[in-house]
Every structure is written in C-alpha cells, then in structure tokens.
Symmetry: C2
Subunit: 363 residues, 2 copies
Amino acid sequence: MSGPRFTALAASLPSTVPFVGPEVQERARGAAFAARLGANESGFGPSPRAIAAMADAAADSWKYGDSESYDLRTALAEHLEVDMNSIVVGEGIDGLLGYLVRLLVGQGDAVVTSLGAYPTFNYHVTGYGGTLHTVPYRDDHEDPDALLTKAREVDAKLLYLANPDNPMGTWHDAATVQRLIDGLPDGCVLCLDEAYGEFAPDGTLPPLDTSNACVIRMRTFSKAYGMAGARIGYAITHPELAAAFAKVRNHFGVSRIAQSGALAALQDQEWLQSVLTRTAAAREDLSDMARQAGFAPLPSATNFVTIDCGEGVDRAKAILDSLSQAGCFVRMPFVSPQNRCIRVSVGKERELNLLRVELLKQK
Amino acid sequence: MSGPRFTALAASLPSTVPFVGPEVQERARGAAFAARLGANESGFGPSPRAIAAMADAAADSWKYGDSESYDLRTALAEHLEVDMNSIVVGEGIDGLLGYLVRLLVGQGDAVVTSLGAYPTFNYHVTGYGGTLHTVPYRDDHEDPDALLTKAREVDAKLLYLANPDNPMGTWHDAATVQRLIDGLPDGCVLCLDEAYGEFAPDGTLPPLDTSNACVIRMRTFSKAYGMAGARIGYAITHPELAAAFAKVRNHFGVSRIAQSGALAALQDQEWLQSVLTRTAAAREDLSDMARQAGFAPLPSATNFVTIDCGEGVDRAKAILDSLSQAGCFVRMPFVSPQNRCIRVSVGKERELNLLRVELLKQK
C-alpha cells in the first residue's frame, strides 16, 4: 500500500528547524542550563498584573478565546492611536509571519530579506514555495538601499526588515526606515518586524501610517512584555490587508489566557518602563563584561547584546560551546560575517554573573 | 501605487468565518449570554490540578514553550501506549488540521468529507486550494461506505471522519471505523477526528495502530479535558507522517502554559472520569428537557445533544434565535437535513436550568 501523497512542495521541504530550543539542548546535554540567555526572552518576566490576569484566566480556559481578540485590539488601538480594524492579533509574530507569507507568496514568488536575518521568516517563505533573495548586511546593519535595489531587481512581493535587527541588535533611525517605505517598488509589501521596538531609542520607529497597504508592522508581547510562552503578537497595517488575514488565520487560535495577559500587560506601562530600564542596565553590564573579556560588544537597541569575538565562526562557535557546557545558553548568528559573534540576551543579575565568570575564561 | 499582490488562491478565498464566536454574538446583541452552551466547551472546567499548573506557569511564561512538547508527548505516549515519535502536539485540532491539509492538499487535490461535517476542516481544505467532495449523512450519521466510495471515485488524498460526530453527536462502533480504515484506497489518508472520543462508550475507538501511515487520529484537551481556551491538541499517527509536521508547523507555537496544563490534566484521570460522569448526567438532563418540550433528542456520544426540532431549518432557526435572545448561546448544524436540529452543549446545572425554561416555552 502506498503512503500519504504529500504535495510536491511539502515533499521538497527540508526537515530542519529554524531554532533548536533550549529544552532540546538541555535534553541533549543531559542537564539544565543555569543561565537562559539565548532566546531573547525577558528574564524580568511579565508584569505582575499580567501574571495575575493569566493565573485568573486559567480557570476560565474551558472557554475558547474571543475569535476577534476584541478587548485587546480595542486597547491596542487606543494605545497606538490607530483604528482597531488595522490590528490583527495572532499567535505571536511567528504565527502572523506565516499568515502574511501565505497570503502573498506562492510558488516561485520573489521575497527579499537580509542574509542572516530572521530564519523563521525564511522558513515560512520556503514553506510556501517562495524564492528567497538576500542581500548582505553592511557594517552589521541591514542595508535598506540594497534591500530596495534587490526588491526592484527581482520584483519582490514581500520585503522583510527587522528594526531593530535580530541577530545583530543594530537599528536604523525612523527617517531611514521611512525612506525605505517611500522607495518601495509598486506591489511590494514591507514586513517591518518591530519585535524589539519597545527597547529602541526614541526616533527609531517611524510613525504608524495605516493608509499604506504595502506596509505591515509586526509587534509582540514576547519580548519587552515578557510573555514569549503565551504566544501572542499583533500586526498593524491597512484595514484591507488586516481583513485579508481572516481568510487564512486560525480564528480561535489565540489562547484565552494570552488574551487576558496581554491586555493586562498593555495596561501596565509602568512595568514595561521598569523592564526597559533594567534591560538597558543589563545591556551595559553585558557589554562591559564582553569588553573585559577582550571582545567587542555591538551597540544594541534590543534586549540582547551581540558580541564580536574578533575572529571567524570557529572561534565564536568554540566560545558558544564552552559557555553551553558551563550551563550558559546563548546563540550565535547563522551566517558569515555575522557569525564571528555570539548573541547574548539580557537576564537577571544571577544569570549575568554566571555568564561573566565563563566569559572571562575565554579571554 | 498598486497594493499587495495576493496569491491567486488567497485572492479567491471568501472572507467568511467557519464559526461566529459567542463573544462576537454577545457584542452584536449588546449583552452577555447567561448560558454558554453552544461551542461544545466543557462547563465543568479543567482539572483543578490543570488550573493550578497553568496558574503556576503564568509567571514562567517569559520562556518560550518547549518546541518539542517533550514532557507532554512522553506522558501521552505512556498513556496511549504508543511511541512518542508517533505523537504531534499542536495548537488544538484546528491548528493540526491546518498543518495536515497543508502537507497533503494542493490546488485541485480531492478531499472527501460529509456534507455538514466540521466546517473548520473545510476551511483549511479550501484555504489550500483543495477540492471538497461531500457525501450526505445517512440517518444523522456520517456514512463510511459512501465516504469510501466517494474517495475512490475522486481519488481523494484525504478523507475526514469525526467519530463521534460533530454536529450530530452520533457515532460508529470501532469495527465500523476499522472497516473504513481497511477499505481506504491506496494513497488516501484518513483523518479521524476523535475530539469527542473520551465521551464515547467503550468500543467506539478502534485500537491505535501507528504502523499505518494513512491514518491520523486527532485528539484534544479542548473538550473532555476542558481546556479549549488553552489551545492544545495532539495527533497520533505513523512516525513518518508525524515527522512531516516538522516541515510546516510553528515550532514554538504551543503555549508553555498550555503544555503545563495539558500535562497536569492528563495526570488527573480521576477528574476526567468525574467530568465524563457529569457530562453523561447533563446529557440525560438535556435529552429529558428536549422531550418535555416536544422535541426529539438524538443519542449522543459527545458533550452535546443535538435536538431534532421536528420541522425544517426555519423552525430550528427560530428556536435558536429565541434561545439566543433569552441569553442562551446554542448552535445548529449548517446544512439540510441536519439543520432541522439545534445543538446544545452540556453545562452546569444553573445553565441547563435557564435553558430548560426557555426550551419549554418553545413547546
């Protein structure tokens, strides 16, 4: 008997995973990590009010979540000063990226991103049969001019830019991003991933303009709001593009607990500010210890610091492995020349102190 | 400037939603429902241990969930006596159905289901460009022989059967389902949706056989385990088909809180049994009140009772509207002849008593 008949596309897909999770690594090494500093999670955690809201919502989780995430979208609309019909709530940015790619990208359609940018975006593009075109980073920054040139050259339907960038932590100012927006070729949608936007200095995020159907901004409760495990994020765009998500999204896919937590988190801007302050301090601390160890930390507008280890991938990989063996989970960029670096998320003092000891051994 | 260039498939999709959620209906009517009996949720709620586990996990939700759901899959494998590599954990059955359809169904590929069966499955098939072929229910049951005949006729890549069935609540015994499995045409995968399996009498679910790559069983923590809002379900199949999900799934898509809750829920089989007992009693109660109102409740192996209102869709719709206006959220099947019925989920005594009053007014 013959087996399942996969689509030609599905049959062609590799079984690789964009990221090997920390728990997977822990099982492989047979021990838990003492410092979890590799997934750009926020060790400062969610707002206590968000934790309380999620704990309260647990008993109510016999009910499906609201398919329209109405209360959260209303609150976000007020917070962002946009119409709620411009907001799509989904299962984290990863989920929303999947929906966006599915709407726009079919077999052979051209998509442009930077070489070494977010692999989960690439995973979706490949998964829907798109053709990825990449341009190199320039001085450890994504290169808006080169992205635009490539988008024109290949007639891209979709262009990805993370600002601030992951995995390098670098960023462009709002004027630069606005020039990118203004220069988009006809029919090319810019996916502007602002997962780390809250951490960035003022003047990094261009003003929201939901009259432009060719720009979609992705934001999340996973990073500054500290709720990665709850799986909730949102997109801001023209109402027509927002409405199109209803054609493909999992309408009841957002957890009711996550909806409650996100609403409470949004309403606790004081906590967010405290996280931003502590993140900035931890970033300084991380940068200092990198310098003490003889390495060069890159400036960062995120909750992680990318550390230039001064040589090529082998040296960075050796340091990463050594840190891992010592119980510190960190990551590194996937491609050259960025992979001369390691990427360390901020965390609480105890975890940073563990890292400091190990990092100094690398000197 | 031209707008986003949707794929031809995306552009062709309707903006309809498989289900209008109760909160959406509440906003439309301007008042909350007093009895939430329409979404086959379990009003008896999750196990207190699952609630406690989810509440505890809230503070930890700054961490992404384990991308492999290892602990839960290990526990499920032990519970089900299958290899853990035969288990895929995902964002509810809705999420898993989407992944399965995506793996198997491309433009024009034939899929078979019953006319009026689970619309979210149809939504996925249409969403990936598949061609749906349907066969009618037979005496309010899905019709295995007709499904098989149709699957052969159209060379179906995928065949859907829910056992027990939603929206009718009827079921087939294990021997009948096994005959369906044994009769599958070459290269046709049976998606056996057992969302309501825990409620069914012994002898309803055929033995698990993970050596057959053309059968995939879908189960969930949304129904008997009372965790619909947590968004977690699982599939059981041949390890090769299970592994294929890794090519398309959102690897970090399952909520960490849901993983903790599901594990605790699974470990509290005593609570599950108490829910099954209370569900059976509530089903009796619902059936009695339906008879008192002059209607004919169908036998049910689920947590809902489908009530034959004796005439056509207009009468059923009028009753549904009347119940809704009185604050009772229930649903009805979507197509004829099943739409002569309304579908009422079990619930707690207070909600059933509200419904009783309103239902008797329909006499």
